[in-house]
């Protein structure tokens, strides 16, 4: 055998293996005639392409196919700028019921189960399941079609330009690609569609949240007709007892009718301290007011700093049930204070009240007993959907302490808390650690430790991401 013979054998062997251009599939007239009204309605709402082009017909076929889906799973991947893909959400859908596992891989992972007009919110980290009426804040979940639209149009209100491109077969199945663009909005989405079923295989959309933000890419990977069982949509399968939000709210508001103190129009309902000395002060004020706890000080001169202010339901929506404004017209808020000296818990605290603004202005105060709690947060936070907001406040505690020492020129102590703040952030979401590195390096430089500062930035700061390939 010589080289020519070898080449001849290999090229002849390879010749039949070609990139198969997808074949156009005849328009499914039978299906379309039966659903003509549906087509018109969907077309008007969704892509609103002015002329019935081949691309528009393909979109209609995909919409019809999606509207008839009874079970589906979908995975969402996101990456920012040059960063690699992150698996962000997994969705199961079966006969009108939805289960969405969101913020996968972070400390803020939440699973939503929506069925029969009710949403169950499972917080795995905090071991709570809260049930409440579904008021639409996860989007329109009436069908797989509505879900897919929301995952690809991102609130686009005007019709994009749509065209079809050929694409290679996927797992032996012919495909085509629907590309949607709208120059005015600089909108771009690409959907790979199974030519045999007209169902999407995956979609990719690029977005930017703000001018200075990195470009974000969202990729959705669909799987249709998976074997999903009813037990997967049973809220009891989460494990923890289910808290009914309306019942919990009613009990909470009933208790709140007996505040510990009133300072002007502001009522102070609870003052609670965790074993590490963190103090949570629950206050309410009239709906149009903005006052809350702004200072705390111990009788033994211990010093407290504000670590954060949060209100119920701020994470997921401001429906009446979340803000508590429905029942008595008052707005509730929680102020978190951290002692500069952790672990010191006074018997009583002087709580100052004032408007919620950057500059602390105290308009009145009350000295109140402190209730010690065993947990790291008050018991009402699960029912008020505040656990994750409290988490975000909690991870800022060490930074707050560090800032206090910085402002008092005590840089060695500042450094100790800068390091703690860094480790807290890494434990919460690894990438968050990068956000603490700059302040850490600045502190090291103030102590004359320039080489260490450089090393910290080099080794712990934002790392360049290698492009693929």
């Amino acid at each position: 055998m010589n080289e020519s013979q070898l080449k001849s054998m290999l090229t002849e062997f390879a010749e039949p293996v070609t990139f198969r251009p997808p074949q156009r599939r005849p328009y499914p007239w039978k299906f379309v005639v039966a659903s003509a009204a549906g087509i018109c309605a969907v077309t008007a709402v969704f892509l609103m392409t002015p002329r019935v082009s081949e691309a528009a017909q393909a979109v209609h076929r995909m919409e019809l196919a999606l509207a008839n889906v009874s079970t589906m799973t979908c995975d969402q991947y996101i990456h920012y700028g040059d960063r690699p893909d992150t698996w962000a959400m997994h969705t199961d859908y079966a006969h009108g019921a939805w289960k969405m596992r969101s913020r996968i891989g972070t400390s803020m992972e939440i699973t939503f189960l929506v069925r029969d007009g009710v949403v169950f919110r499972y917080d795995k980290k905090h071991g709570s399941v809260v049930r409440e009426p579904y008021q639409g804040w996860l989007g329109n979940l009436s069908s797989a079609l509505e879900f897919a639209k929301q995952q690809t149009n991102f609130g686009l209100t005007e019709p994009p330009q749509v065209h079809i491109e050929d694409s290679p077969a996927m797992k032996g199945r012919p495909t085509y690609t629907l590309v949607m663009e709208r120059a005015e909005d600089e909108y771009y989405t690409r959907i790979l569609v199974d030519r045999q079923t007209d169902l999407p295989i995956l979609s990719e959309t690029s977005v930017r949240y703000g001018k200075n933000e990195a470009l974000q890419h969202v990729r959705m990977v669909y799987n249709f007709s998976p074997n999903l069982t009813p037990s997967q949509f049973d809220p009891a399968s989460f494990g923890p007892p289910i808290i009914d939000l309306r019942t919990a709210m009613k009990a909470f508001l009933e208790e709140s009718k007996r505040p510990m103190a009133a300072v002007g129009e502001t009522q102070i309902h609870r003052v609670e301290a965790t074993p590490t000395g963190t103090v949570y002060v629950l206050t309410s004020c009239p709906k149009d007011g903005d006052t809350r706890a702004v200072t705390a000080s111990g009788g033994d001169s211990s010093t407290y700093c504000i670590a954060g202010m949060t209100s119920p339901g701020g994470t997921w929506g401001d429906t009446d049930i979340h803000t508590l404004e429905q029942a008595d017209g008052r707005s509730f808020s929680v102020t978190t204070f951290v002692p500069v000296d952790p672990g010191k818990i006074p018997q009583r605290l002087r709580i100052g009240v004032g408007p919620a603004q950057a500059k602390v202005v105290e308009t009145g105060h009350a000295t109140l007993p402190v209730t010690r709690i065993r947990a790291d947060r008050p018991a009402y936070t699960a029912a008020l959907i505040m656990d994750q907001a409290i988490d975000q406040v909690r991870i800022s505690q060490e930074s707050v302490r560090a800032d206090w020492f910085r402002d008092h020129d005590r840089f060695e102590e500042e450094l100790k808390y800068r390091w703690r703040a860094y480790h807290e952030a890494v434990a919460f979401i690894p990438r968050f650690g990068e956000l603490r590195v700059s302040a850490l390096a600045t502190c090291l430089r103030k102590l004359g430790r320039d080489e260490e500062a450089d090393r910290v930035i080099r080794e712990l700061g934002p790392q360049p991401v290698k492009r693929f390939p």
């Binding site: 090229t11 062997f13 293996v17 495909t175 690409r190 690029s206 703000g210």
Partner: protein
Amino acid sequence: MLGKLSFTQRSPGVGELPFDPMPFMDEVTRYAYFRLGSREDAEDVAAQVHHAALRARTVDNPRLYLLGIARRKVADNLRRRKGIRFAPLSAADRASSSFSDAVHLHRDVAAVLRSISDDHREVLVLKYVVEMSAEEIATLTGRTPAAVNSLLQRAREAFANAAGDQFQEELP
């Protein structure tokens, strides 16, 4: 859930791509087939490569770029399973080939390819099917051109030995 977003910049649209990947997709598919031995897997890899190409910004050598992606995708695929199989091509595939004794040839070559190492298969397909130079293969695989030539020589001998033949160098 993701709310309404404003779009201030988009990914490159098809008309803005730095190159058209389609002319290279046959080579990509064949390369993947030689490495994986399965038409379906090769098409999967080709599909992934095609989609990755749509993200490309600036590319000096489209063929090298696409084969580079394919190489990574093939490696991922190989990690997930053991061995290659060179499944028989369908009747339609065989009918589209241009040689007379396609079935026998395919069976023989498939058996030979199965018996040689993955490195040898890769360098043979790059040289004789994709028709790359030793320098291009070196760039793609991270070897020196001399190492590629050496590997190529061993691959030819391995192929010939497996075919029950003896490889003979052609005189220039």
